[in-house]
Symmetry: none
Subunit: 537 residues, 2 copies
Amino acid sequence: MERLYLYDTTLRDGQQTQGVQFSTDEKRQIAQALDTLGVDYIEGGWPGANPTDSAFFDAAPATRATMTAFGMTARNGISAANDDVLAAVTNAGTPAVCLVGKTHDFHVTRALGITLEENTANITRSVAHLVSLGREALFDAEHFFDGYRANPDYAMQAIRAAHEAGARWIVLCDTNGGTLPAEVGRIVGEVIAAGIPGDRLGIHTHDDTENAVACTLAAIDAGARQVQGTLNGLGERCGNANLTALIPILSLKEPYASRFETGVTRKALAGLTRTARMLDEILNRVPQKQAGFVGSAAFAHKAGLHASAILKDPSTYEHIDPATVGNARIIPMSNQAGQSNLRRRLAEAGLKVAKGDPALAAILDEVKAREAEGYSYDTAQASFELLARSVLGRMPELFEVKRYRVTVERRKNKYDQMISLSEAVVVVKVDGEKRLSVSESMDETGGDRGPVNALSKALAKDLGQYSALLEDMRLVDFKVRITQGGTEAVTRVIIDSEDGQGVRWSTVGVSANIVDASFEALLDAIRWKLIRDRGET
Amino acid sequence: MERLYLYDTTLRDGQQTQGVQFSTDEKRQIAQALDTLGVDYIEGGWPGANPTDSAFFDAAPATRATMTAFGMTARNGISAANDDVLAAVTNAGTPAVCLVGKTHDFHVTRALGITLEENTANITRSVAHLVSLGREALFDAEHFFDGYRANPDYAMQAIRAAHEAGARWIVLCDTNGGTLPAEVGRIVGEVIAAGIPGDRLGIHTHDDTENAVACTLAAIDAGARQVQGTLNGLGERCGNANLTALIPILSLKEPYASRFETGVTRKALAGLTRTARMLDEILNRVPQKQAGFVGSAAFAHKAGLHASAILKDPSTYEHIDPATVGNARIIPMSNQAGQSNLRRRLAEAGLKVAKGDPALAAILDEVKAREAEGYSYDTAQASFELLARSVLGRMPELFEVKRYRVTVERRKNKYDQMISLSEAVVVVKVDGEKRLSVSESMDETGGDRGPVNALSKALAKDLGQYSALLEDMRLVDFKVRITQGGTEAVTRVIIDSEDGQGVRWSTVGVSANIVDASFEALLDAIRWKLIRDRGET
């Protein structure tokens, strides 16, 4: 088995996605997920280019994967040792450093305004500098394919400089994303024939023609042995080559599966769908239903002919077993397969329902009706459980919310500063007794945390026998999305809660009113915890 | 120039997309758009399979493209003339008919439960029947690539039967979407070598490995001359080959552009982005920002190095001119952008600032500081303009919000139903005069639209001379995410607004309090419109 190396650039090129701006903490979470997945390199960002990237490298998580800092070759006329931009990159102290440089003559003269010889010399001394510091050096050959088409001699001279200076990997980049797969394959083959071994070559493509995955495969077919990409195909413009598709292709599909090995185990592969969805959660993006392998529709069989054949034998209309990538088959709810799926999900929640029980169809109907109103139970497992309990008649009576009122006010204080404050009143009936609670949204520093915070505190404040159980509960995330509910736009709120043991659960609320939707999700979160803590079955 | 034929199946296979259900009228609209685009065949659906498809064919629009009905080969043991399922298809009266049939031995014996010989005979007599009716006959060879891998002799025998019976096109289908481009190319080449000419072969691929476009190109490279696909890559599971990517590739990219011609003119190509967005409007889907060619991010240059080079020469980071497909370049504001990018963006907003003006650095500093607090100006161009105006001292004094208060109440009404209602009071100072306005969140149907709606109405209600300018303004989208603002989690709200002329603009607000953040984005939206309508510079 030959080794293929996976190089992830979600945290660097993925950050170039329009609308994406990771926080340092999010970068850390993603790096850990990538490490669990089993990539070989994690490109963490460009130290010195912005505060987030610098902060990430200041306290980079310990990973099995080789942490890599990205930067550019030393600027013309400045020695590598004296270039402060390059110094910021090497000072991040990562075992590997990847520097981007020009290999297309047009860009050297037009964008940089220097001579071809000067550019080559800059590549040589920058890579040599990394090697002298004992780092693994990677060279990102920007615009390599366009450059090779325009001036193959210069493009080769540029990457040969990096190779001879000791770069472990020369990464051939199709920066503008316009090269088609057949040409990528031909050019990679010519580079190898010209003397740079395939096991020193990486491939970095973009999806501008929707061929990024195919271009990557063409480069591997031609001999390249490092694959660059991002989770969910994030990246500049149309995105980078999608590792979420490439990883299962290389692991499961021929001729790759029996020829190559990567650092991704079968077990890690089975976590791929969850990893892809986690990234979307962090970005608060709606996961692409039609994404290959990990999309919620990737194994959804809508055509009647397909669905009935699938029941006889799944291989009739599936190219792989969805479980190998942690995904699941979806068959129209109405039929037998839909019900056995449901029984499994209920069993996971400790709710045993016999095969053929009419309650199964009733739950499916209720889920369908709710989904038409804008609810989504893909991630909100806790709300799904409550819904099922209610249909099954296994929903204990805990407390009843009679009414609430929340006020948000913004005005000047006595120091003539604009301040805002929220105040919530919640009236509940618990153990036959009516209780009124009021809370405001102030945090420890006197800052206003808004109406949902005030409501949450007022609701938990006086629930009689239950209040003690809610002490270790906190709201850890709050996602809001506008979606369709019937014919109208409604707000869907998903709340993630956590308890003292680190257990997390998600609940959903839907309403045209954002506060109402939040309150519904909050109520579900509290109910789920009370039921679990009381050990209901 | 060799002719390539485009066969669109948006109305048939595209309808298998999870969550997609076209009405007859929507089918008509889409057919007309496809005809304007210049495809050669429009597969309108399966007459007899459902009421919508039947109704579409009953009054199919007149098109230059060949209208095609889809169905399946005659069932075993029933003559083609007596098969009522087939009769419903031919009775639609279309000039062309495409019938799907089995070519994979496993499916013949396992899914159909008939002998291989029976299946071959069914293909022969079904195609011959179409020919006898004077129709152009197409044969969709289902699972052809899987079938060819498993039993090449039988797969060839099946398609040879269709060819010999007079099928104009034999369409090689990768029904399960699992075949990779290199293998598609190899197999198509072998089929042609075995005697079926390439100008009788079509290719139909699915995107399960994100290689549908590449598989199609590989088949064309090998000699196939009909290309099947859908707009925006709609279709069963992960979708079909995306014509919205394939059309510009075949029209603009080598080796295709100078070797082949299609029915798509340059003028029609320039309408591609609009056609793609129109389909999303019909489906009420958010257009995919990162889609190749037509996505709103396809020519968005976020990286600072890219953005500055683009300003010198767009070809540095663009593989085609966005205008050729009716798309546009975007240089978003972000903490990675430089001053030249900034000047350009200001100029687009009608704000001329001289090169080297210290205000440029001041604006960038302000943007950076805001981004650290959680703001994002990638899409919120209108808020960016207001921020720049304020730094430049060109922000007119329009009105001042002195304070506001909004109350959300949920309680039982006199009919014992839980209802919610929001009420907002806004106090503004406009033209030296203090004005108090109050509004509630009720829509025309008596439903509660929430606190942001109430605030929005109260704010616009009495702004003196400005109120009239706000009458045609409406909120079209509202996005909320939790993000990092300094060390705390804050809420970022992005509001998209639209006026009576269809102009859209985006604004952003950030606060720990979701109502406050929304109010800030609302204020910006109103201010931007007033400034634009007054023609401020």
